[in-house]
Assembly symmetry: C2
Homo-oligomer: 384 residues x 2
């Protein structure tokens, strides 16, 4: 059910390419870069060929040159087309996109604002967006909000100056701030000006939205663990203001509903590896009780927890089941391999672009399924 050449259906391949070397003596590389002036870019001096040049070279008018190169509604005699093409090639002409944008009144740009490119979560989404954009002949410009709502607002504002066809924002997770309202206002403004906006992993906003089914995935995970014989759980979650964490937590609980399993212990901690580690230590410290498995609301927390358990003399997968969420690449390399739920990140990026390009209701919401992936960190429990 996947497109063959371009899109890897599952981002399962943990390949990590890398690169060539240096030209300095291997032993003594230069220091971390002399802090060159980081603020004042020099303006380009030389100049590129213009359509005017091409027209002159080809011995035709600018209008004809334009028509020949971009094939408008009007026709141009074959001979002239050839001459213009030749001239363009000779002069290495490349149309000035800004000029085109201004003449045509529209750009071929999609603006993508993410929270952090270095984060695999967002970079995978970005990959999906970029792929779809390229297929549609669009150029993507990217901005990083760094988790700051103010920065995000500022970005969207200046982005509007680019007059992109589409704005896609992923990573905003602010709840009910005035900054948030301003953002909505800004985006609405943009849309009434003819732009198209799509949000990723956002909810209940009057824009096109693609979401990932955190609740459903967690619920399914809970059911899968029940099926493997686990009944007594602990949940490691982050602050409830963190929407993702809350959704996954609640989803897990709802999956347990009606099973008769006791309410899980809940440990609030950081959304990071160290958070998971810390929560696990706390759990061990207070006595494991009869907890059979822990669900951490993301994989890095789960992995941190596994390490902590091991440090306490417990072997994950044998003495205690562990499950995470996200299905990040190392989940399969860790020992034991981590049960998790895979989220279709790239697919989310693709879908966002599709939504933006479609002519349908521009405020449609589009949920993407998350898929539970059972591994040896949660083996079947021996039936007593």
């Amino acid at each position: 059910m996947e497109d063959p050449p371009p899109t890897p259906a599952t981002p399962a391949t943990p390949a990590t390419p890398a690169f060539p070397g240096t030209s300095a003596p291997p032993a003594a590389p230069a220091g971390p870069a002399a802090p060159a002036g980081l603020t004042a870019p020099a303006a380009p001096t030389g100049s590129a060929a213009t359509l005017h040049d091409v027209a002159r070279e080809a011995g035709v008018s600018i209008a004809t040159a334009s028509r020949a190169l971009n094939g408008s509604a009007r026709n141009v005699r074959a001979e002239n087309v050839a001459r213009v093409r030749a001239a363009a090639a000779k002069l290495d002409y490349e149309p000035h996109l800004s000029a085109q944008a201004i003449a045509k009144g529209s750009t071929r740009t999609v603006a993508l604002v993410v929270r952090d490119v270095a984060d695999p979560y967002f970079s995978t989404i970005a990959a999906g967006v970029t792929q779809a954009a390229t297929e549609a002949g669009l150029i993507v410009t990217m901005a990083v909000a760094d988790g700051s709502p103010e920065r995000e607002l500022e970005i969207v504002r200046t982005l509007r100056g680019q007059r992109p066809r589409i704005i896609i924002v992923t990573g905003s997770r602010i709840e009910g701030t005035t900054t948030r309202d301003a953002l909505i206002e800004e985006l609405t403004q943009y849309r009434t000006a003819g732009g198209r906006v799509v949000l990723i992993s956002q909810r209940d906003l009057p824009f096109g939205t693609v979401t990932i089914d955190d609740r459903g995935g967690s619920a399914a995970l809970a059911r899968a663990l029940l099926a493997r014989g686990y009944r007594r759980f602990a949940v490691f979650h982050a602050a409830p203001s963190l929407r993702t964490s809350r959704d996954r937590h609640e989803g897990f609980l709802s999956g347990l509903d009606g099973s008769g399993a006791p309410a899980p212990l809940a440990f609030e901690t950081g959304f990071t590896r160290d958070g998971g580690h810390e929560a696990a230590r706390r759990l061990v410290g207070r006595g494991m009780g009869d907890v059979e498995a822990v669900f951490a609301v993301n994989d890095v927390m789960a992995i941190g927890a596994m390490t902590a358990f091991r440090e306490a003399g417990l072997i994950p997968g044998r003495d205690i089941g562990v499950a995470g969420f996200d299905d990040i690449a190392p989940a399969v390399d860790v020992l034991p391999a981590l049960t998790s739920v895979a989220v279709p990140l790239r697919e989310a990026g693709l879908t966002a672009m599709r939504l933006a390009l479609s002519t349908d209701d521009p405020t449609a919401h589009h949920p993407l399924p998350a898929q539970v992936t059972l591994r040896s960190s949660t083996p079947h429990r021996p039936t007593p």
Copy 2:
């Protein structure tokens, strides 16, 4: 060890954020998106406020409005500035970047071409570039070459149309193709037109270049392992046409030079986790001989190898030392923690931008040091 709010200096944090939910019933999320028309973006219909509007609203001329908002060399009476500002705010005016670009004759854009955004290697570099660009008030547009030289060439070509101030390309690794020559030609062209080009992890090209010291890092790793008592090695490497692999391999050998250690066994395999796994199986299959440690030219290979060893009944870090390269996040989470050499990826992105913005020699080469990080996968060998 975690980033406070904004920019983590070291990309060491393995955090994997995630996100909110869905609006559909958790159990039955919709399929993978109706394939909406993916080719014909609709042109924006409504229109945004223009400088003309602002001027009229403020009761001044366009020239004054322009000067008031962007503060040129000329002064504007305070009262008029205030009125223009107010009008701009009221109309939600945002200057049309394309129009500005065309009027000023230069953009504030930096074009970044990477091989694959989803790859942490490149996305981390991209993060560095983006950060530096933002600090310099520049906008970054990103294109993905997907490892295809032709695509890369095409991208650079159309990129020229954007008239960016700077082009940064990372990921090109083609050797001596005619496509490669065309790329060089294209970039040269761009530079003579006033643009600035910086390459990352490329060598011996007449452009600004920042490289990562693969050879030096590998050599240092070799020496560090010697110091821990290892003398007999195997090297898992990829095809020598892969520059990175070759550099790291050769660097490792040069680090062994003069130590009297025997020449390592060499195993050629894929540059991936499975490649490492396969090579390790081969090594085990032929009998380990007296190999004491293996150096895999990247971390995922090393991690794959560890798993393979374990499957063969050997415990990594006890029965066999394992070291990798890149120091990817999971290196520290894997069991045992993996010895590796850290590459300053984000720093590479930052440096590239600095190079581009500096007024120095535009073809300067800038090597970045790689740092060996010893962990428990290569403990001290008991001195016999």
